[in-house]
Symmetry: none
Subunit: 234 residues, 4 copies
Amino acid sequence: MARSAKLGAVRQQPKRGVAARTRRDHGTPAGKSPSNRAAKAAERRAAIVEAALEEFIARGFAATRLDDIARRAGVAKGTIYLHFKDKESMFEELVRTVIVPLVSRLDPLPSPGVSVRDMIEAFARTFVREVVNTRRADLVRLILAEGPRFPAIADFYYREVVSRALTRMRALIELGIARGEIREKDLARFPQIMVAPALMAVIWQSLFARHAPLDANEMLRVHLNLIFGERRTA
Amino acid sequence: MARSAKLGAVRQQPKRGVAARTRRDHGTPAGKSPSNRAAKAAERRAAIVEAALEEFIARGFAATRLDDIARRAGVAKGTIYLHFKDKESMFEELVRTVIVPLVSRLDPLPSPGVSVRDMIEAFARTFVREVVNTRRADLVRLILAEGPRFPAIADFYYREVVSRALTRMRALIELGIARGEIREKDLARFPQIMVAPALMAVIWQSLFARHAPLDANEMLRVHLNLIFGERRTA
Amino acid sequence: MARSAKLGAVRQQPKRGVAARTRRDHGTPAGKSPSNRAAKAAERRAAIVEAALEEFIARGFAATRLDDIARRAGVAKGTIYLHFKDKESMFEELVRTVIVPLVSRLDPLPSPGVSVRDMIEAFARTFVREVVNTRRADLVRLILAEGPRFPAIADFYYREVVSRALTRMRALIELGIARGEIREKDLARFPQIMVAPALMAVIWQSLFARHAPLDANEMLRVHLNLIFGERRTA
Amino acid sequence: MARSAKLGAVRQQPKRGVAARTRRDHGTPAGKSPSNRAAKAAERRAAIVEAALEEFIARGFAATRLDDIARRAGVAKGTIYLHFKDKESMFEELVRTVIVPLVSRLDPLPSPGVSVRDMIEAFARTFVREVVNTRRADLVRLILAEGPRFPAIADFYYREVVSRALTRMRALIELGIARGEIREKDLARFPQIMVAPALMAVIWQSLFARHAPLDANEMLRVHLNLIFGERRTA
DNA sequence: TATGAATGAGTGTTCATTCAT
DNA sequence: TATGAATGAACACTCATTCAT
């Protein structure tokens, strides 16, 4: 059930195909529903973004057909070109569009009175809930997959997500070291270690979940135990 | 030999492929070069495998053109079909062909008198040398990327590599716990944690190395410190 | 209409196909030429059908190239696939498309006050005019030629044409016997005999006409003489 | 069962594929079997002719693959080119090779003391036995099918078979008229009429036999009744 | 002479992109 | 603005033909 969560930005749009509505349905000319041009256009664009991501995730960039995206979005193929220059730039723009809100949602708010472990654990839980157990895990995998062919995306992803997350994480680690919560001082040199099990979880869900389910929350908790020492009580 | 050497080469070899040789190279009649038919055929096949892997890694399955593979391998397009049924089964067979020797090479030999940490550290070093700092890292990324579209490969990879590696790792962890080298008993439930930084290293090299180099060996060492406690002396 | 006219043309029309027209022929806005989309599409489809039949007749199924059909029809190759699933089903659909109206046109109208011989002779004349001396003769030859490789077509042809024609012919023969016009009672067991010279005529025109012309009408008349006895007067 | 008769020239060769015999079977070096080179070559050639005809009949010229012919003949693909210039000339030569003995076998020997009807009836019986109920019927259909693409073959067939048969038939008809066996004098102008049911029989067997079996001998007999009048007694 | 691996031109089919409506 | 029919370049795969062995 978790896997049915939406990909982001776009709201729960009914996802009805072209067939589901009357052709040439010009909308209610003067109703309360989004009746002005701009809103309709935005709605269409959102539908395309949503559909495109689903398709790209399912098939990868090269194997995805614009026909399928259009059908899924309930628009004509030509309409896509009113919103995007071509397939390639659509893909790049898409990933950006979806990643940005994702990043901000995951940005750990620095709560002063809380232990570093609790902060990181809270972050981990959010990550599992919002990413690992979501179709967004596949988005991450998609980026890993298409990265080499889309250096622009790899760069963007590095800049906006990876680098930022690692910087944040390093700061937390240093705080943990300063507060005496973390013993291993070298950890600050490799914040990747802190994130590695999360990456593992994402990939596992996307590829091996059906072979062997993985309790991501538990795994991350155990990993934190290694770093912070086992929790005294609970 | 020739193939694996190439796939293992760290830096981007000139990549001229067999094509750069003179066509109709009859082989030196009295040299060490293979002069009989079977050997020539095997050589051709190896060239195709090599070329195909390079192309698949660089572009992914769908975007790779058989034309390019043939050109890079220095054979005609039709020749590919003397060795493989079609593009799809070529891809699957390829991945298998490359993974199998990889697995056996990484199988940690159970050295009785050695500490668990040393065994794992030795393994980690081998992994970094043979995979992370090699084009093989890209192969792993390729599998992660194409997995969903090639369930057969994902299954094979899970069965032959993932599952096997985790079982081996779990056994080592349990040994470490029994010997008192490892404190965190729950680690045996998540051998993925032990492997996670290695996965991180592989992906990092493949995607982000040019943004920020990563000393994989150091990272893995630090991670082992978390698990086994810091090394006493050195 | 346009198509059947063409297929029915006795001599080799200039065969320039639609391609010879100016591309982007917008149609005369106030002329009789079809100006709306559906009509244009139908026109295109007709052009493809026409071109395909010419090519299939001239070269047979396997040797016909879609490229040539497209060029002759004056459309792009991809356009063919907007109308037909693939080459094979195009061929089958084509044959059906052309045969059906042919059959209905040949259905002998049962004129009550006329002698059986006159009915058959009228039918024979129609057949010669509409089939034997027409490109349709080649279509029949095409069906005989490709039948074994297209059982669906052979079946269809048997069901819709052969079986139907023989049944009709048998009824006429029995009527002729009952009326005393036909002596040979066994003829009703082999209506094929009645049709055989027509088949011969079709094949002759298609293959040997240039070696030796054949007056199909005369031949059929002589054949009827054998069956009904020679005409008294004239 | 009838349909299993061989195609002609070539004797009952075992028709074993390559697999059936030892590779590199050099033949008995000094046995009684055809041991000299020429004989072996002729044998090979015969096998190719045989195999090629089967394939061409089954699939038509364009759809037949030399690979299949070679496999069926039990020779390597290259061997075909030792005997034939290319696929096209192989086809033409083949048809000639098979037709010639066919013609001579069917040439009605002019028996002086026999009635024309009996001569023709004997001929008809032979034709049914040797052609209609044989794979040779398919050969005729093949010629009809490929004729337009192989004018040389169509010409050859017209010259060697059609024209000759019609001339012979015309002579018989004239004899029949002279002797008073045949009433309809115009029949001499259209010997095709005499042959038409035979053609019908050939095509019927090849295409429609499975829908409705046809007793060719009976049909031809009834047809002769139309021409010669019904047989008095028997 | 016979082989069959290798070739590469050729063909059916797909699909991103355009553009008249 | 939205449509979707039409386009044609691109690509996987085939197969007649060659030629080194």
